[in-house]
């Protein structure tokens, strides 16, 4: 495989033995316990239940773990650059410009007293040093790219004047306008209705394939991740218990993954008791490299 390896195939992100720990009264509690994976220009899904450490994994890449949490790793490299050794100044440059993050609720991420258009334009100017007119033009283009029908009108609205679905599209526009190489999306569509969710995912899908962007998609929704991503990591209690191609999720081996899949109700199955997941303590220790 080494012969056709090009810069395009080199891993965008390398993570090895990532750990996130929080001090508690009884000692350190680890939310992420030795996660390793590498990411190319693909859509990687991280799935798990609440408390599995999936969100912390996503946040720790940008070193956005709330204090007093501590991030450590044998290697955490973006395009070959060590993120753990990066200065706060360098990290700020990488955040937003090279790696962008979209969170679940746009309400908390948008400035309530600034029109959404200006926020997108500002996000562009911070990283590009472009003029005001140029920034506005780019912002309007970006609003159109996330399929907002009337960009001129939406540009002058305040965050509280837009719906949840539109707010999430605006967030995505703002995050993607500096043309990042990697997007970390933490439950970006969980607060949205299914149809809107599909439309937002279609936008992300297109932007990924058109710009060759890598994406980490953190979600609790197995079916959604299986149908949207290329590859999946399944996390349990801070570890990756299984990784597989998204199309092969139904053939998952790990009892936890199989248990999760079985516990999902299905439209095409007759009503009846769902198999309940019984957790094996062995899962806590038997991790797996991805």
């Amino acid at each position: 495989m080494a012969d056709n390896k090009t810069a395009h195939d080199a891993p965008l992100l390398e993570v090895s033995n990532l750990r996130v720990a929080f001090p508690t009264r009884t000692g350190m509690a680890e939310a992420v316990r030795g996660v390793s994976f590498s990411l190319g220009r693909e859509k990687l899904g991280i799935v798990g239940e609440s408390g599995s450490g999936k969100s912390m994994t996503g946040r720790s890449i940008l070193r956005l773990v709330p204090p007093p949490g501590r991030v450590s790793a044998d290697r955490l490299a973006f395009n070959g650059e060590d993120l753990l050794a990066a200065s706060p100044r360098r990290l700020r440059e990488i955040r937003g410009r090279r790696i962008a993050m979209v969170m679940q609720d746009p309400k908390y991420s948008l400035n309530p007293v600034m029109t959404v258009g200006r926020q997108i334009a500002e996000a562009y100017r911070v990283h590009s040093k472009a003029g005001a007119a140029e920034a506005k033009r780019r912002a309007l283009e970006m609003l159109a790219a996330v399929r907002i029908r009337d960009p001129e009108r939406v540009y002058d609205r305040y965050p509280h004047e837009v719906s949840g679905g539109m707010g999430q599209r605006i967030m995505i526009a703002m995050m993607l306008i500096p043309d990042p190489d990697l997007l970390i999306a933490d439950e970006p569509t969980s607060a949205l209705d299914v149809t809107v969710q599909m439309q937002v995912l279609a936008i992300l899908d297109d932007l990924c394939s058109q710009r060759g962007m890598g994406m980490i998609f953190v979600s609790h929704d197995l079916n959604l991740v299986a149908s949207f991503c290329d590859r999946i990591l399944i996390m349990y209690a801070g570890r990756v218990v299984e990784s597989c191609r998204a199309s092969e999720l139904h053939a998952a081996q790990h009892p936890y993954t199989r248990g999760l899949l079985a516990s999902l109700p299905r439209i095409d199955e007759p009503p009846g008791d769902l198999p309940v997941l019984s957790r094996d303590p062995v899962w806590l220790t038997a991790g797996r490299e991805a």
Partner: protein
């Protein structure tokens, strides 16, 4: 008929700002039936439920429960007949009350007496057992909290249980446990269930019949059998069904707004 709703209208606000949240909904639920009310946010499905429960008193039309016509303000006896479980188990339990106090409250309000035995019985009923009786909500997991909320609804031995997205705040493995619990309780107590949800798979698992709502109106009623076969008649319902099948680039392109 256990629940009979005729031409229900709910408006919020006055004058030009008035919003019609529910616009002429008519439906009925038979005794012992499990009925699903499905829709996206803003469809009015929860508003219908809140009007039936007595939480919302700004409605017009007709609501009858167990044959008795209901006015906007309910008699105390109504609450022994009809109880509700909320979506967010973190918000529906008083943070400073123990499980014991939470369950004792309805018993005290209705002067039922024999509180100890009732609380013990209902805790066992929802699969928690006496060990949980004196805990505070913050000492419980999300699934355990939802079980306490269900126990609180059951302690008055109602005949109707209104469920407002009871599993959408829970992990899938916990959702399965709660759905199984609700199915068992329904069988054991002969409950009539009304389940409001956006999740068609949950309806397929727990309900006999369902109604689909969009923008305050009832789009269509169908049996779960028909849902399973994908035999919906209305394009809006078909779109919802497609959206529930997971992500598909081409499907996403085909979506449109239905007013």
């Amino acid at each position: 008929m256990m629940i009979d709703i005729r031409d229900l209208q709910v408006r919020f606000g006055r004058g030009v700002d008035a919003v019609t949240a529910v616009d002429g909904v008519t439906l009925s639920v038979r005794e012992g039936e499990s009925f699903g009310l499905v829709g996206e946010s803003g469809s009015g499905k929860s508003t219908v439920l809140r009007a039936v429960s007595g939480l919302n008193d700004e409605w017009t039309g007709r609501i009858a429960v167990a044959g008795a016509e209901q006015g906007p303000v309910r008699q105390t006896g109504f609450y022994k007949l009809c109880q509700m479980v909320f979506q967010d188990p973190y918000g529906s339990l008083h943070p400073r009350h123990t499980v014991d106090r939470i369950l004792a409250e309805p018993i005290a309000i209705h002067g039922l007496g024999d509180a100890d035995a009732r609380i013990d019985r209902v805790l066992r009923d929802v699969g928690l057992g006496p060990a949980f009786r004196f805990r505070y909500p913050h000492q419980l997991s999300g699934g355990q909290r939802q079980r306490v909320a269900i126990a609180r609804a059951l302690v008055l031995e109602p005949r109707v249980l209104l469920l407002d997205e009871p599993t959408s705040a829970l992990d899938v493995s916990v959702q399965a446990e709660i759905l199984n619990l609700l199915r068992r309780l329904r069988a054991e107590h002969g409950l009539t269930l009304v389940l409001v949800t956006h999740n068609l798979a949950v309806v397929a698992n727990l309900c006999d019949r369902l109604a689909v709502m969009n923008r305050g109106r009832l789009v269509e009623e169908m049996s779960v059998e028909e849902l399973r076969r994908g035999a919906a008649r209305q394009p809006y319902t078909l779109q919802l069904l497609r959206a529930s099948q997971g992500y598909d680039r081409a499907t996403a392109e085909s979506f449109r707004d239905y007013a």
